[in-house]
Symmetry: C2
Subunit: 267 residues, 2 copies
């Protein structure tokens, strides 16, 4: 069993030092975690007004900032968290890194940019990275990426056991008693692919924007096993059997992947 | 607004006359419906033990049986229901027809066969048909077809406003208070495509098999608006704004279809 922890945080726009401290504190507080997931753009905040604001907040994936995450980790634990990335070519991305004690193992650049992010960031042009860890294979996606079932399928077909998804979900109306719509989509991704999903949302109010606080852990059977808000200092925590989802057989005659009919989906 | 009705029934294995009578009664009882959806294999029952049983129960799509459905309809109403089909080449399919007063407008042959269906039926080899009706464009899928998000996406990209889905959902365990997993998948299909979904399940117990009785109507906003079991003679009923889902814009900068990155999904 793998201990997965999502720790929602409330980053403050433009306050890199405070945000970085919160990340390092969260890593320290989750020492018992095998896989720790933190929100999207956790180093910078989200509600940029100009491209320059986003660019000014961006850091390199190979710089001292993510190296500090690595140094704060112990053992086989990995952390997945979002940051504004300045690529080697100077282009700015909404990215997330998977980091272990040995350093940055993968960087994912959000491929589906939400709303005004399109004004500030350049989208990634790759499938989600799927990273071998001591606990299973972890795919990294960011927020709106999750809402494209072809993209979550891609990660699953590429071998993911867990989708680690830093998010910033703007609060939208929903009927009383219902889960956030993004969680319903995440549950379906789990169900049709037999993968676990860990969505880590943010809190706080930023330039008037409120957030769903929808942090949710979902098993590879599609059911929600834990949720948390930023008021929960321990975050959402669960022991997940990540390897159980590798068997895609539903019955003697059915297999989630084998039953696909890709020749019927194109066009 | 379009009045969509799902009327769950409990067909009896091999009793064609009784099952056909129940279909005609359901059509008669839903005279106020614009679109009526009935279960999968509603003329035959489901739990075949041999290929011969399925073949013996099969009918042609152009024969008197579906013509009787057409004759029972009035006005612009259409019915979508499942039947065991003997194709012109003698091959047996798990099919569903969309029928109006003018006759059979489309036949869909289930493309994703569930479990032992693979022993008895030949799968279809086409995307879901999308049929123009007086009320909007209706796609026809059958049961397990719904669990392949690439296939529901195909229907949506082909212009569907409503997915009409005859199902026979075998009862599976789920946590207390949760909807059936198939409904979660249907809600996600609605959410990521802005299409309404009408799933009509069956009841009864057949050769020991129990059913979910999960009949559910879902709006193009992804929320459940009505459910019913076979104990509800009126079925699940709702007035749905089928055309509202045609606007795929989520924000000034986002569009559910336009934001897709198909070049990243292949391989």
């Amino acid at each position: 069993m793998t201990r997965v922890v999502c720790r929602p945080l409330a980053p403050r726009l433009g306050e890199f030092e405070a945000n970085q401290r919160a990340v390092l504190d969260a890593i320290d507080a989750a020492r018992d975690a095998d896989i720790l997931v933190l929100p999207e753009l956790v180093t910078t905040g989200y509600v940029f007004h100009t491209r320059a604001e986003a660019a000014d907040a961006a850091i390199g994936a190979e710089g001292p900032e993510l190296a500090a995450w690595s140094a704060a980790l112990t053992g086989d634990t990995v952390v997945v968290a979002g940051f504004a990335e300045r690529g080697e070519d100077g282009v700015i991305h909404n990215s997330a890194a998977l980091v272990g004690t040995d350093g940055v193992r993968a960087v994912h650049r959000k491929a589906h940019l939400w709303d005004r992010e399109k004004l500030f960031f350049t989208p990634g042009d790759r499938p989600p990275p799927v990273v071998d860890t001591a606990f299973g294979r972890v795919a990294v996606l960011i927020c709106y990426d999750l809402e494209f079932p072809e993209y979550t399928r891609r990660a699953a077909l590429d071998g993911a056991d867990l989708l680690a998804v830093p998010v910033n979900w703007p609060l939208v109306p929903r009927p009383e008693g219902e889960r956030p719509p993004e969680v319903v989509i995440a549950q379906a991704a789990a169900l049709v692919n037999r993968v676990a999903v860990a969505c880590c949302d943010r809190g706080g109010t930023e330039r008037g924007q409120r957030w769903t606080e929808g942090t949710t852990l979902i098993g590879s059977d599609g059911w929600v096993v834990a949720t948390a808000t930023t008021d929960d200092p321990a975050g959402a925590r669960a022991e997940l059997d990540l390897l159980a989802g590798r068997d895609k057989r539903l019955t003697d005659h059915c297999d989630l992947f084998g039953d696909r009919r890709p020749e019927l989906y194109g066009g």
